[in-house]
Symmetry: D2
Subunit: 365 residues, 4 copies
């Protein structure tokens, strides 16, 4: 792993700024012989791309991906796969208002002090636009895992402000996420949250969100204790997404109030009887569904004025006009899926290296 | 990084099983010239070691650490530092009762299926005993960071079952943690939780816990976007601790209900006016205190019988007698500090490599 | 490091096949604030590019590099630098003659058996064309090292078949390399070798070469024992160049016949009195010039028929017509420089992480 | 990889100084289920250990290795394997003569300037004593590769000063190496070289050596282009051994004078007809024997006085009395084998991760 590379064996290196010439990625370590074309990746990018509806940023990007290498005669060759998306809507605009000010809640301040300079064009590398390449790379992993293990990645928004749902709700249905404008698995919650977001848009404010992930078909045995546990790498992967502030596995923070007799999942000859653990025991997948949740903070790019300082240290006020999402968690959904797929794919290859092939179903030694 | 190695530049590799001959660690990449002896490390190990009081496991280990290399004439040389703790209380006992059974909630099942064999001696590598070496390595990082940056690492138990506290409470005081049997910063909560734990011990049950971390003195600029963000690496480090099921930074899951106008921390010439972000913006430290919380699950080693299967797939019942903590979160406190120190130390060196020295205080460009 | 990534801290990831859409690289970890534009990189690529004279392949590529990210307002930002070269002369041709045959001396056979497939279009990823991106990345390192340390990278062909030279020769002059068609530092050797190559071209054969490297200005202290020694990483870097079969440091294989009293370089208050060691002691740079030599094998792509087998295991004969260099070592010269620059740059950052700034000149403690 | 860690998937981390308390290693990533005990490792250490005969250092070390973890009931568990050798002959002596002087040809000078301090006790980490742990770790790899692939590692001294041999010599026999005091495969050369060494010992001088390596049974397909080629990693592994100054693969530097029609190895249905390539094509093993040679410099620790400076920069003279080998290349033989085994083992696991199982014999697609 490294700053802009995810993974030890299925390695994804990304580059590109929100207002630069292009975004790109290199995927190194992909198994050879996987059928792959741009058409396999584009639908995943289309789900994430801006300008889909009134609840996401008005920026319009085709986000058309090109495969530059690593595929020959329709199949991966084992060589690194180069991906490229040219930026087309780098709206030239007047940055003079924000150029010298640190936007509160943004990475302006920390990037400026870390690197000693500032890319004031809408976030540069710290923009959520960077996640497009995570989704493109994740699409390749998801394709492989679906084909080889029938693995299914579900993610959806389960909370926006005061509106929430959970799998226990009658209306909860993973299959409706794809068609919901908020990527929400619960129709009732979605309608209520849409009203709430419309009001926020009027007020020029934003709101946070909680996203739930469930992955089925994960074989038993993935994870490399003691540090590279499957849940630890998943926590890092999800926390590395812009705006994420918390990650839980299985019952998450609720375990602080649980008793051992309540938490431990009993085993029977037919499998586990519950999944408080969220599919991971001792850092290794148990074969149960992998369950995680993450919290996205509300974007700080709002039209309500805020207090800040400029680069000379002087106090000032700032309004962020740009084209921004009122709830960045929504477009975070495909990114959550993508990062989970990259984690599982990497661990699959790592397991294979040391231990040989994984087993597909509930095994007894 | 690798399975049993933490860090890219300040690299800690650990080995050893709970009932094996010894635990050990190699620290590679430590700056030369740091004054170091066993006496600098032992107090950290003593805080974590078992047998301290009735609320922690009755196993008795001296946990006496030896420095085998990397120190000459009282200072680190830049060569790898070898650390060793001989296990002294590997009680020889009769494992026949649990040898063939998978303990529910434990890593038995997943280790067995991953590696194709089973070390039934009390958890082997998956035992919390492994964390002793994290604490030893973390002690070296904490010493360096304290000396060079006056950095202070605070951690304490802020929830056990129904009993909780927070920094807003009048009684909350980091300085009392060291002397509290539960490593709790709040005297009132501690007393209530001690009563609760006594009752649990009678019932043969266990309970989860929530631990809070605050680090002051972290310089601005640490973190390597887009993947190796400071918060992402901290999330991985904390989630890699045995029994941890959730990690939050700053306001954590509460951000899902917050508005942008509420969440963003205003900047003034005198610093930030709040710290909802928990000291990280865009994956890079802001110079504010680094704040995180983690949830420890209740240990599954309890004397209440549970359903499980044996290695032939047959259903059976199990009781875990061993010597176990009723609330593993308590002894997790020094481990949380240690992992945070390893993360910050590693990022300090990484920052230095690309960008030169860090700045110590609130800077204006 | 990883298959297609060079470096631990100055990380270069490359992709692209000789007959694919494009070649690309991502440089991650470059210090911020370095002035950089395409004009800084292009001259290095122009030296390596094909079609320069009759002694290099007739393929014509503009090799025009684009910087896609990581540079803002003329300076590096600390974000990953994306580089791209579109392939323009992917001559569409009839591969039917070689498609099913393994070319002797080529990577066809091993790639086919490793990855289970074959990219028969002129070598795919195993083509020397891949080295263009090494040169582009190396150009950035060379610029930084020249600006910060006045470091100078010299490389030149010192042997082609029976014609050789050495720094002891009167005519030996690093400054003439840039203008010599064989990148040879010795005018006499160059003329003799040119005649030799003309004869080889007539015969349809090829020849090997030896290239010498000298780097001045390397500060004392670079190298990370015991495995990542400066000379060990240099050996790997140079051996990773297509066609290289041997690497030596300082006196190289001659040391097997030397005595200790002869080999050891004496120190005086004014510096070392000789440089048998080649600028490295114990895997760490001594401040003396870094000296290495490499041997390039003769390309196997010749018009003299050779025996081989096809993919069905049947014996057959093959003639490689393509557009190939009679002596690949010539165009290897800028690649040798580039790889040396990547090694030194990476070690500079690694040293800085653990030990702080390097010293510039002959120091006494 | 990292300073004191070799390998990406079969990772060996070593620590310990020549005159410290102990030497140690951690092997992380070893496949589970390998039968292993100290008795499997000790014979390899015994070959390398000092004090075997008059041609190696008089220091006496039992070099008794202990396995501290990672093995349970006689088999590896997949957990990290901790190895330890206590130093027993750290002769306490008077260092006052050399304490402040830089020994010419040694790493004193560079270590002092890199780390800002000096461990004057006989080399500290830069001593050849460090290689004991390479041999111990290599023994585990050699055992696995022998059992799984019938792989055989041969290495021997083929040149000492003016005395040399090669596989073409009638007397050349790998099987005699184990019993030869110089680890030489040629009886005639060995006798001549023994006389030569006796004379050197009288003169208080030392001499270099050349060591040849041949590995049979390497499956086709190992190596990770474009940077982590099998030959590139082998070059690094061998160059990282103390005193090695050159590495060649196959015909090595001789290729600079070869023609393509002569160098390329023809393929037939029965295999290759020659092995100029040394078993590697395009950085990937061809299934032929892997062939390499390395040159060891003469040790600079001799009793002939040499010119140097002290740490104050003043000129002085030095005589190195200690207990040193007149020809360090001899004891380098098992280290060469060990490093080759670590390289092949690591690449085997890396291949398996991306491509699945390797093939055992000459295959046709």
């Amino acid at each position: 792993m490294a700053a802009n590379t995810w993974g030890e064996l299925f390695r994804v290196t990304t580059f590109g700024e929100s207002h630069g010439a292009a975004l790109g990625a290199v995927i190194d370590g992909c198994p050879p012989g996987v059928e792959l074309s741009e058409a396999d990746i584009q639908p995943f990018l289309d789900r994430r791309k801006p300008g889909q509806n009134r609840f996401t940023t008005a920026r319009r990007e085709a986000d058309a991906v090109r495969i530059l290498s690593g595929v020959f005669e329709g199949k991966t060759t084992g060589a690194p796969i180069g991906l490229l998306i040219e930026n087309t809507d780098q709206r030239s605009k007047d940055y003079s208002e924000i150029k010298d000010k640190f936007r509160p809640g943004h990475a302006d301040y920390t990037y400026a002090h870390k690197y000693g300079h500032r890319d004031y064009r809408g976030g540069g590398r710290s923009s959520a636009r960077e996640t497009a390449m995570r989704v493109a790379a994740g699409a390749i992993a998801q394709k492989y895992l679906a084909e080889q293990f029938s693995m299914v990645f579900h993610a959806g928004v389960v909370q926006i402000g005061p509106h929430a749902t959970s799998p226990e709700h009658n209306d909860f249905d993973w299959l409706r996420v794809a068609d919901d404008p908020l990527f929400c698995p619960d129709a009732q919650m979605s309608l209520a949250a849409q009203d709430y977001l419309k009001q926020l848009l009027k007020e020029g404010d934003s709101v946070g969100a909680r996203v739930r992930l469930e992955v089925t078909g994960v074989p038993v045995g993935l994870g490399e204790p003691v540090f590279d546990r499957l849940d630890a790498d998943l926590a890092k992967a999800l926390m590395s997404i812009n705006a994420v502030k918390a990650v839980s596995i299985g019952d998450g923070f609720a375990v602080a109030a649980q008793r051992g007799s309540e938490h431990r999942d009993a085993l029977t000859p037919d499998g586990f009887t519950s999944n408080h653990a969220g599919g991971v025991l001792g850092g290794i997948s148990s074969g149960q569904p992998l369950i995680a949740e993450v919290a996205f903070k509300p974007t700080s790019s709002i039209t309500i004025a805020g207090d800040t300082i400029d680069k000379y240290g002087q106090p000032c006020s700032i309004v962020t006009r740009g084209r921004h999402d009122p709830c960045v968690g929504i477009r975070g959904v495909p990114v959550v899926e993508a990062m989970a797929a990259l984690v599982v794919m990497d661990h699959l290859l790592r397991h294979r290296a040391q231990n040989g092939q994984v087993k597909h179903n509930f095994p007894v030694l």
